[in-house]
Amino acid sequence: MKDNTQNYRTKRTEKYLDHSLMPPCQVACPLHMDIREYVDLVAQGRIMEALQTIRSGNPFPSICAYVCTHPCEEACRRCQVDKAVTIRALKRFAVEFGGDRMVHAEAETTRPDKVAIVGSGPAGLACAYYLRKHGYPVTIFEAHSDLGGMLRIGIPQYRLPREVLDTEAQRLTQMGVEIRTNTRVVSLDLLFDLGYKAIFITIGAHQSLRMGIEGEESLGVIDGATFLREANLGLKPSLGTRVAVVGGGNVAIDAARTVTRLGAKKVYILYRRSRKEMPADPAEVELALEEGVKIQFLTTPVRIERENGRLSVTCVRMELGEPDDSGRRRPVPIKDSEFRKQFDTLISATGQAPQTPSDFRVSIGKGSTIQVDPVTLTTNRAGVFAGGDAVTGPATVTEALAAGRLAASRIDDYLQHRYPLADKEGGESLRGDLMPETIAMIKKIGRVEPPILSLEARVKDFGPDELVYNWETATNEARRCLRCGIGAEILFQDKCATCLTCLRACPYHVPYLDTRGTIQIPVEQCQACGICVAECPAKAIVLRKPYDRRSIDEELEHVLKSAAESRLKTFIIGFCCQYGLFGTGTLASLWREAKAGVWIVPVLCIAKIEAEHMLRAFEAGAEGVFIIGCGEQCARENTAYWVSQRVEKVRKTLVQIGLEAERLQSFVSGITNEDPATELDKFVEQIGGLYLASVIMQEVKS
């Protein structure tokens, strides 16, 4: 029967055609996670599915949820409207509420070749995870007593709770990864002798760089990596009361904030450039400042002397000169600006480099990093691969995870004697900025940062300082996503009558007529609201993602089938915004414990409901149909207007058929003062009355 409602011409592969473009966030993510998808699922309150999406692109989402440096947020096009979507915090919400720690990972051994992984940092763990998934027996060798590498000894606990790490480690054990801690690998030959067919070196960059100044070896001077290692292993180093940290990267900030938590009274950061050039995450810098860390910009130590059990540090003031190779302005010392400061401890955090045992006999390049082929990740030795900080120099957790994942597939290629397969291209990516006209029409909704512990509670101990969103904040924040790259397109140019409906209907002024008189809908502007799709009189426009196209049709048919199977005689169909009230808000309970005879079709914005959908519900025997939108909560403007237009059209038709117009209602909160739940109750009652009346009428007639 459904077949009839479909035009023959549209029946070709349209249903499954995916023309969506990769959004900038996904391009920016080293793991290329499907961020747009999981943010949208969070917005709908479908947390489990969001977690599933996250897990399919990230082996350790819980870890990323805490410590990812979120390059995606820098790329987010919402920045052009107001501020980026809080992608990392939403992931945190999804892993916490979706129950990531309960996820059970399994793997079977299907291949004979053993693989050794040297180092258990994020790259090593990711590589082990994916190799296990490929079916290889994997052994991880870790020099320290616990897994995690920099995750454990570099990142402070307040940023990444150790339980999270332990859960992931446990999951790897569950998958059958052999873990050998307290085992420092000194020779790769030995591993080959033990029968390993491939080795992945991921030993990180743990060696602090020297500052190269006089007195650096003095007692009381410690390097950042060593300090964080000791602090993170719970060794409470004695620091005194006045502590200076030299450097401006994340390690410097981590060290300073750790020092604060260890009880030092005065903590200074000495950084030779200004705040703008600081490589550390600005949000972390902000938190450090709040916690009382003083940052002395344009200051660098030049000499350290030990006097009377304290450090006397001679510093010099700097000014910024010409940009250097990194694009940042080079600091130049100001003449005769030397001054002295007293500290109990000085922590140097001016950079780190890998330290590869010479017995590995792998070739070492610039900055002591291991040289690898960028495509195959192979070193100069057959069967030896390398990745992570050991290859790139200090980088982010996510980059390391990506390197681990790539290494796993390259090792798989190597062991199967296969030419390395090209990276799976995620399709075309979205380019271009939003036009001012489009930006002007996008509703401005402020970014909501996740809650953070109060200052006192934070510096007291090493507990995590960032809290999780509550349900409502998370879904509202997720709804800010502009859904880049899945907008509308004219799929059937031959059907387009150039009637200009899309151009006139679009709230964002996106479609335009080109000089040849053809309508263009630029994908980089389209907000994927679906209004033109529902309005196009030729049905020539579709959304670029197949799921969005099928959604309402399929949900409706599914619900109608269930309604028909139920024994209830009268039923009412409600199209409800899955984002707003019904998905997550005040009517969520209704959605879950559906009233007898009320069937809910979840829709992703009521503006996508076409007049035909409403009629279809009546055709299947619904006594009443209602539409509930999210009203003021809506991330878009004026969706209710479109619904009211279509409702009026359908009502006119209903009257011609002999059905009462009241059988079709739309409730959009904020439009009337009444609580939608009460309104809905009234409606259900009214429909019941109408049904009774029609039954009586029929009885009378017969």
């Binding site: 035009n7 009558a497 299947a620």
Partner: protein, 227 residues
């Protein structure tokens, strides 16, 4: 462009009543643009007819739907042949021309009109259509500042305005602009007010008998006679 509006549902139900299998046939050109018979209206009507049928005991139709690019050219209609085989009647949402073209092309199946073809016009704004041309075959727009008195003046007078104009509106409908006032204002703007002084003699509509035919080639080899 040709503008039409869909017939009331009741009327459509009445005219299809004798037939069982109904093919609802849309038109992808003018009828799509004026929201009367494009693919969306076809499926809306299809759904509406099915709702009506589901609420009525004595109707038993099966419907199918299809939309062609243009019903008024027979090449577009050729691929319809196999679909027509499954139908007893065609409910055409094409304009009057489309309906007739269908009837001419498919001689053995009745073709019913689903829209009332109303006029030749344009979109005043989105969803509002205004008549602009009467297809009189003798265009005088160069004399009247690009505003057609034949169409837009209720009386269709060639030498206006008449005494019924009031505050720029027509006596027949006080919401409607008087075409001759519009013409005056436009000519004034174009500095051609002298055209208002000329007298336009009545036209002889009898000289062009209907139906008309226009040929853009030297000779034709099909279609004896006219219609």
């Amino acid at each position: 462009m040709i503008v039409a509006e869909q017939k009331p549902l009741g009327e459509i139900r009445r005219i299809i009543a004798p037939f069982e299998r109904v093919l609802i046939l849309g038109c992808g050109t003018c009828m799509t643009v004026c929201d009367a018979g494009g693919e969306r209206e076809v499926s809306f009507l299809h759904n509406a007819l099915r709702v009506a049928q589901s609420r009525s005991a004595d109707e038993n139709h099966t419907f199918s739907e299809y939309t062609v690019k243009r019903q008024c050219d027979s090449e577009f209609l050729d691929p319809l042949a196999d679909k027509i085989g499954d139908a007893d009647v065609i409910l055409s949402l094409g304009c009057g021309i489309g309906v007739q073209a269908m009837a001419e092309h498919f001689l053995d199946i009745p073709v019913l009109p689903g829209v009332n073809t109303s006029f030749m016009g344009m979109a005043k704004e989105w969803g509002v259509w205004d008549e602009r041309c009467s297809a009189c075959g003798d265009c005088r727009l160069e004399e009247t500042g690009g505003i057609c008195p034949i169409t837009r003046c209720t009386k269709g007078i060639l030498n206006g305005p008449c005494a019924g104009t009031k505050n720029g509106k027509c006596e027949a409908n006080k919401d409607m602009d008087c075409a001759w006032i519009l013409i005056y204002q436009r000519l004034e703007r174009l500095q051609q007010l002298e055209k208002m002084r000329r007298y336009y003699p009545p036209r002889n509509f009898l000289a062009v008998p209907r139906p008309k035919r226009i040929m853009s080639k030297a000779s034709i080899d099909v279609g004896e006679g006219n219609g």
